[in-house]
């Protein structure tokens, strides 16, 4: 173990000092933030900031008293002017006007028949058709008032029916939104750990392959055993993954806390379920790390890998095909099958447990046991492959070579 830690320290220091790792360390959270905010920024760029000139013809005399107090023209980006000119006069003048303009008629028909006519020019944005719907409730209220309904009756008609979901858990009552966040936050955190350490785990593959390519393994193996070297790599890259998670949290946590300041994110994060989720992420890492370190020892030239090796590289991404079925039914058949397949299990479990209110403890227990068993088997196989493969200089190992090493 002492030798493994020496290798781990070396791998950690070597990579942490590497420029491209340092750049990607800081660039990744920046890119995440950029991708998260860029779409809304871009859609904001396309919007027309110029206000719409709304010319209200108000023969019924209701705008100032009954409509304006209920809507907020500034939020709607309207420039409202109560007009005395007729519709034809407005149309003549508005033809020369290049800015967005609307002529809105609030006459008796608007109150009695609920029919409001407005005229717009070419520059009027399409969103105006949505915005004008805000005039509906005050006009309806005015219409009911004219029909002779009391305030109480009017309230009963206009308020409609609202469904408020309330949940009872233990002694305290929480709203469903808060409840789901409480599950998603630790799940997202464990997902982040899994993602980060699996990504650095993929660097193990490069490291083992590079060791072959640069013909250093024999010198290193003159000081320690292949098992020490393999374990050292797995531990070292785990540390790198955790460093990555740490840096990402330092960069992203203040932004998340600021953006979702209405929720106690830290309180949601530090819940009793978190250790279970982190445990699942760590076992998942060990599984993929063992797989990659064994695979790396079979490849010297990454540009000429076989389909078999390429498929193994894709295994961490296999749970992606289960995302939709799991989101639609976290207890469905696809989710349950994914829970028991070792290579999909960590991601599927983290996703399901973030969605489910009641955790299926028996399924979790079986899945974790299966995962640990798989880690043990894969580690053993990887150890055998690594021991022979790392010293096989000058060529990539074929599938039959790998089978032979495993059998030996």
């Amino acid at each position: 173990m002492r030798n493994s830690l020496k290798v781990a320290r070396w791998e950690f220091k070597r990579n942490a000092k590497n420029k491209s790792f340092v750049i990607s360390l800081f660039l990744t959270p920046v890119l995440f933030i950029l991708f998260a905010t860029l779409p809304s920024l871009l859609s904001g760029l396309g919007s027309n900031d110029e206000p719409v000139n709304v010319n209200v013809s108000d023969p019924a005399g209701i705008w100032e008293e009954h409509i304006e107090p209920y809507i907020s023209p500034s939020d709607l980006n309207w420039e409202v002017r109560v007009e005395t000119m007729s519709q034809d006069e407005w149309m003549n003048t508005s033809q020369e006007d290049e800015s967005a303009a609307v002529f809105l008629v609030l006459d008796e028909a608007a109150i009695h028949d609920g029919q409001v006519t407005y005229y717009s020019n070419d520059s009027t944005p399409d969103s105006f058709a949505v915005d004008i719907q805000h005039l509906g409730p005050p006009l309806q209220q005015l219409s009911l008032q004219h029909a002779g309904l009391s305030d109480e009756q009017m309230n009963a008609v206009t308020s409609g029916v609202q469904f408020n979901a309330e949940q009872v858990s233990g002694q305290e009552t929480t709203t469903s939104e808060t409840n789901s966040l409480e599950r998603i936050v630790p799940g997202a955190f464990a997902g982040l750990i899994l993602f980060s350490i699996v990504m650095t785990g993929m660097m193990i593959f490069q490291s083992a392959s590079q060791e072959k390519k640069e013909k250093v393994s024999e010198i290193v193996l003159s000081s320690l055993t292949p098992a020490d070297l393999m374990q050292g790599k797995i531990i070292g890259y785990f540390w790198l993954g955790m460093l990555q998670v740490g840096v990402w949290l330092i960069v992203a946590l203040p932004i998340v806390l600021w953006r979702f300041n209405e929720f106690p994110i830290l309180e949601f994060l530090l819940v009793p379920e978190l250790p279970v989720l982190i445990l699942i992420a760590l076992i998942g890492y060990l599984l993929f790390a063992a797989l990659f370190v064994g695979l790396g020892a079979t490849i010297e030239d990454i540009s000429s890998t076989s389909n078999f090796q390429g498929m193994i590289m894709m295994l961490p991404f296999s749970p992606l095909i289960l995302i939709r079925p799991i989101l639609s039914d976290p207890n469905g058949l696809a989710a349950q099958i994914g829970t028991y397949i070792p290579f999909t299990s960590p991601t599927v479990l983290i996703m399901r447990l973030s969605l489910l209110e009641e955790w299926p403890w028996i399924e979790i227990g079986i899945a974790i046991t299966l995962l640990i068993l798989s880690v043990w088997i894969v580690m053993k196989l990887a150890g055998k492959i690594f021991e022979v493969g790392i010293l096989l200089y000058g060529k990539n190992a074929s599938m039959s070579d790998i089978v032979k090493w495993v059998r030996s």
Binding site: R14, E214, V216, E218, L221, S222
Partner: protein
């Protein structure tokens, strides 16, 4: 009598159906340079890798300093493999200290030794240079320093001179001799016979996994202190074979090589040669280590008797 640092006994190894080592046994002694010779595929690297514990022999024992432990103490051994390289994107000093750390050697002392060896090998001031910036020869010097940074009791060098220019070869030779003089036991595999003759105290020659020659350089020379006689001229092979002290004849066209028994007196033997031998040209030479090696490598019969003795 120098202490035996490494004892290899009856080493056997097979890969799949093919046996690559047959009962290889030898000792490496303190302060001595032992040469491991043999053509490509003779089993030298398999022997060395077995000693280093990189591969496991099927049979036989390897003991360090007479200890009966099953594992060789790796931190007491320095190793320069034939297929060697270094991590490309790290600094020279970092990699040297990493190898010293793997051998449990104090880092402060390792740093001092590294600086001193870098100076000795003309790499002064380059400790912060990245490996990828070095030439091949400079890289080999760094690899050599890495193998001796922890003051090993036993140093195993697999083809240390391959790829080196003559000046660097001399620097390496001098350093290897100095290490042996200071008490390091050295096992060296090499192809350059002149270098082996010049440096080695002891010799083991392998051929197809079998140990065909072994002993101190003096013993081997004495053992092969025989002569060969080259005669240009048309002669009957049987007639040449019947001459006293001739152990074997090789004949191609008009050239005959007569291998002679080592107990002969050259001047007497020449005097007693039959008068009817057709001689256009005549030469009497000692058999060199180089010839023994070539003979073994080309599978000729010079050492066949020896081979049978050792098999």
């Amino acid at each position: 009598m120098p202490n035996t640092v490494l004892t290899v006994q009856n080493l056997r190894k097979s890969f799949k159906e093919q046996q690559v080592l047959y009962d290889v046994s030898f000792n490496v002694k303190k302060g001595e340079i032992t040469a491991l010779l043999g053509p490509n595929g003779a089993g030298k690297s398999t022997t060395i890798r077995s000693i280093m514990g990189i591969i496991y022999p099927d049979h036989g024992t390897i003991h360090f300093n007479g200890e009966q432990k099953s594992q060789i103490p790796k931190h007491k051994i320095g190793y320069l493999p034939e297929e060697r390289g270094l991590y490309k994107n790290v600094k020279i000093m970092d990699i040297l200290l990493y190898f010293a750390e793997l051998k449990d050697y104090p880092l402060k002392k390792a740093k001092e030794r590294a600086l001193s060896y870098l100076k000795k090998f003309g790499l002064e001031g380059k400790e912060k240079v990245s490996i990828e910036e070095l030439s091949k020869g400079m890289g080999q010097k760094v690899q050599f320093i890495a193998s001796i940074i922890h003051e090993p009791e036993l140093l195993i060098l697999d083809e240390p001179f391959s790829g080196l220019d003559p000046v660097s070869q001399d620097v390496f030779k001098e350093e290897i001799r100095a290490l042996a003089k200071s008490g390091t036991a050295i096992l060296l595999s090499a192809h350059q016979m002149n270098v082996v003759e010049e440096m080695a105290d002891r010799l083991i020659m392998l051929h197809k996994g079998k140990q065909v020659i072994s002993g101190s350089m003096e013993e081997v020379k004495r053992q092969y202190a025989s002569f060969k006689c080259t005669i240009h001229g048309k002669n009957d092979e049987k007639k040449l074979q019947s001459i006293a002290y001739v152990t074997r004849v090789e004949q191609t066209d008009n050239v005959s090589i007569l291998f002679l028994d080592q107990n002969l007196s050259p001047s007497e033997w020449i005097r007693e040669l039959p008068s009817d031998i057709h001689i256009e040209e005549f030469r009497l030479d000692r058999i060199s280590l180089h010839e023994i090696f070539i003979d073994v490598a080309s599978d000729r019969t010079l050492t066949r008797e020896e081979e049978e003795n050792y098999a």
